[in-house]
């Protein structure tokens, strides 16, 4: 550690309670490196200066206000709200590539949510985990583990909301385990206030013939870093990884994804879309790793960013590492403005410039939104996007 204010605060929080052995190990792993800097290749485009300066406090244990809870629930509609208790820390999220934040989570998380779905479970109703981030500058360390047993199916929405003006840090860790033939839709919906910090470490492991559809929706937070380590361990496993990130003002949405094709005959499709306005700075780093001997791999990655202002920036870095010869891998990245021909076409039909822009921007995001597994979420997010664009349209 370099002894910046945030690190010292983390240490104080760690020492304020007796910790189990595994937590001690996790703390050591964190303390060895401390908070990353932009000299670290994986953090080159994401400076943490604003976060480093904060003297974080332990979570105050405050409950989510009733109106915030009602708003969060209305987004998802009918859902199951209960999950089993999980005693943290434990190992799976302690992947080196997600460190040091996943280690920090493991050191400090006291309990989390465990969802274990077996094949005889009711299939259609999604699980909805609401994660509340309190005000001031608190450090929250939410933890979740989702296990989908052989042949079972589930939908899980992990939903991050927070107190207005909070400068708090939500440092979450989630792991997803899919047994043979399991199917899981996991959606992370992050709509924290635009003053807060969000780091999410997501690790998935998939057995043969399982299917995982993971979506990250990063709408809020001053700085968000979603780091995903997905491992396809069994033949026939399929992964669809979607993302939509919005940035305005000085927001900084960062996605760092690693897809590890560890078994032959595995498939991954990755689709990320970003809409950046103001001076927002988006980051997308997509790594696809095909291990030696993992033949018949099909991997496709797309990252498209729409820059609505001159001040908005995107750093996009695809990285394919292929150590097998019989594979099909592709990647595409595009960065651009709204299509002027399409804008003119809409205006030539009587839509004003603001309407035309909103229509095209929403259409850009729709490719990700329409793939969401829950209808209520699809509809409410279209409205959110519309509202997000409204102040711009009014200009």
């Amino acid at each position: 550690m370099r002894g910046v204010a945030a690190e010292l605060a983390f240490e104080r929080i760690f020492q304020s309670a007796p910790r189990e052995r595994a937590a001690l190990d996790a703390w050591r792993a964190f303390a060895e490196r401390g908070l990353p800097t932009t000299r670290d290749e994986d953090w080159r485009f994401t400076p943490l200066a604003a976060l480093e300066a904060l003297d974080f406090a332990e979570p105050d244990g405050g409950e989510i206000p009733a109106d915030a809870l009602a708003t969060a629930r209305a987004r998802v509609g009918d859902a199951r709200r209960t999950a089993g208790a999980l005693h943290a820390p434990f190992g799976a999220v302690l992947e080196a590539k997600l460190a040091p934040f996943s280690a920090l989570n493991a050191a400090l998380a006291e309990r989390g949510a465990a969802i274990d779905v077996s094949a005889d479970c009711e299939r259609s109703v999604p699980f909805h985990l609401v994660r509340w981030l309190g005000g001031g500058a608190q450090l929250a360390s939410p933890r979740a583990r989702v296990t989908v047993r052989a042949g079972a199916r589930a939908t899980v929405i992990e939903h991050f909301v927070g107190a207005p003006d909070a400068r708090s840090l939500s440092n979450s860790a989630t792991d997803l385990v899919l047994e043979r033939g399991a199917e899981l839709h996991y959606v992370q919906l992050q709509e924290l206030p635009e003053t807060a910090f969000h780091v999410s470490s997501l690790a998935s492991r998939q057995a043969g013939d399982s299917r995982l559809h993971m979506t990250s929706l990063a709408l809020g937070a001053r700085l968000s870093r979603v780091q995903i380590a997905a491992t396809l361990e069994g033949e026939g496993a399929e992964l669809e990884l979607d993302g939509l990130y919005l940035g305005r003002g000085a927001q900084h949405p960062d996605h760092h994804t690693t897809i590890d094709h560890a078994a032959p005959h595995t498939t991954s499709r990755e689709l990320f879309k970003g809409i950046l306005d103001g001076r927002a700075h988006g980051v997308f780093h997509g790594r696809v790793h095909v291990r030696p001997g993992a033949q018949k791999i099909d991997a496709a990655q797309t990252n498209r960013a729409l820059l609505l202002s001159d001040g908005a920036v995107i750093d996009s870095k695809p990285q394919l590492e292929i150590y097998a010869d019989d594979v099909k891998c592709s990647h595409g990245a595009s960065i651009g403005q709204l299509d002027p021909d399409a804008l003119f076409y809409l205006r030539a039909r009587g839509l004003d410039l603001a309407q035309a822009r909103a229509l095209l921007t929403t259409a850009f995001a729709r490719e990700v939104l329409e793939r969401l597994p829950v209808a209520a979420l699809r509809e409410s997010l279209e409205r959110t996007l519309h509202d997000w664009l409204a102040p711009r349209s009014a200009r």
Partner: protein, 253 residues
């Protein structure tokens, strides 16, 4: 002479450093159909785009008046709301925007400007289905994204569908006949003919005269080198079909 709906006077237009239109004069009165013909590169599409207000075309001289008002001062959407419609030569594909949703937004934007009530989803659906049927267009095209994956002919039909919904006072058809087989051409021409009325006018820009067999023009103009080199009645179109443009080019020199 009836009232002039569109009055183009001495219109000069440049794209970048290149002069394209070099003094176009054209008056279209309500109730009339005019055809503008000409070889490739003569400035036909430039004329259409300037009337619709596309960026990138610089008017260096001349005026365009629509119903007596300065058309060039209006934004593209204001022209559309005032009753000018351009059927695009190359309609744009817009993934993610539903065709029917787009057309409802368009119709309501134009209706609002004309002081008419907004159509709700049900009223609009009834209207658009009826118009699509007249154009022998499959209803599946209403629920798809705007022009996405449409064939050339389907795109042109979609343009005419929009035109019939918006009921413009002046319809500018930019090579609407290109890419249409003979059956589609007849259907599209019927759609345009249905719009004809004593209050409306049509400016059909075309390379070939075959559209004009169905859409009989009152006047035919030949655009060469950015100027109208010759005007005449329908007979001129037939003569062009037979003799090509070279003789007019020679005359114009």
């Amino acid at each position: 002479m009836a009232d002039a709906l569109l009055e183009i006077r001495d219109l000069h237009v440049r794209v970048g450093d290149k002069p394209i239109l070099r003094g176009v004069d054209l008056v279209v009165c309500a109730g009339e159909v005019h055809a503008v013909m000409g070889p490739n590169g003569s400035g036909k599409s430039t004329l259409a785009n300037v009337l619709a207000g596309r960026e990138g075309y610089e008017v260096t001289r001349g005026t365009v008046r629509f119903r007596g008002a300065d058309l060039l001062a209006l934004a593209p959407e204001e022209r559309a709301r005032a009753g000018v419609f351009l059927a695009f030569q190359y309609p744009v594909e817009i993934p993610g925007v539903g065709n029917s949703y787009f057309m409802k937004a368009s119709v309501n934007a134009v209706r609002a400007a004309r002081g008419l009530t907004q159509l709700d989803a049900i009223d609009f659906l009834g209207l658009v289905k009826q118009k699509a049927k007249e154009l022998e267009m499959d209803e599946k095209f209403l629920s798809r994204s705007v022009n996405e994956g449409f064939s050339g002919g389907e795109k042109k039909r979609n343009e005419i569908l929009q035109m019939s919904l918006l009921e413009p006072a002046l319809a500018v058809l930019d090579e609407t006949d290109s890419g249409l087989d003979i059956d589609a051409l007849r259907i599209v021409a019927d759609g345009v003919n249905r719009l004809r009325s004593p209050e409306r006018a049509i400016l059909a820009i075309t390379h070939y005269q075959r559209l004009l067999e169905y859409l009989v023009p009152d006047r035919t103009h030949v655009l060469i080198g950015g100027r109208i080199a010759k005007s005449g009645d329908r007979g001129l179109a037939l003569e062009l079909e037979k003799r090509g443009y070279a003789w007019i080019e020679a005359e114009a020199r």
